[in-house]
Amino acid sequence: MIKVQKQRINVSEQNRNLLKKRIGAVVNFIGVARPLNNSGKIKYIEIEHYPKMTEKKIKEIEIFAIKKWKLNHCIIIHRYGKIKPGENIVYVGTAAQHRNNAFKACEFIIDYLKVKAPFWKIEQQNNKKTYVKSKKKDEKKIKVNY
């Protein structure tokens, strides 16, 4: 199940959805907006995306992960718009028969989302707006691991 939404993610509800599957292992990852960057306090972040492309790319990632790690269920939710420090940005939940697959799939999905899904972040400070730059180590991790 994938969703791209403006509102906060109800983490408990999504965890319940995974637990309903009554399967051996449930893993989740929650990305949270940071309160600080290198130059100080962040007022909020703003996430932009390419609506016609976003769900398509996330779906590709989901299909790949379900097949490779034999997932029984997978939930990927990514937010866009203004997000305050401490609020969740992204939720990835995986359910599989064994923990190893659930962990690996969850890590793969978030790694892939970072470099393959069309989202862009801006960090807004009091008098400064910064376009967040992609990290080479994220791209490298994908090439090395998958």
């Binding site: 016609k52 989302l113 899904a117 069309p118 862009w120």
Partner: protein
Amino acid sequence: MKIVYFSWLKEILGISEENVRPPKNIKNIKDLIKWLGTKSIKHRKVFLKSKNIRCSVNHQIVDKNNKIKNNDEIAFFPPFTGG
């Protein structure tokens, strides 16, 4: 041809999309970048940094040798920073 811009490209250009009719000798993304860079000072500023720009054609990520057609939707953007 519809061109769509995101992130800092959109901010510098002051537009999120535009419809263009490139000349017939513009066959691929590389040609298009060169041609778009001549449209205005703002376009030049954006496309001078084209090494940092990624693109998609009809919502598929492509490289700069990818051929283009008149009815394509072409997007230009920096590397993704979601998650």
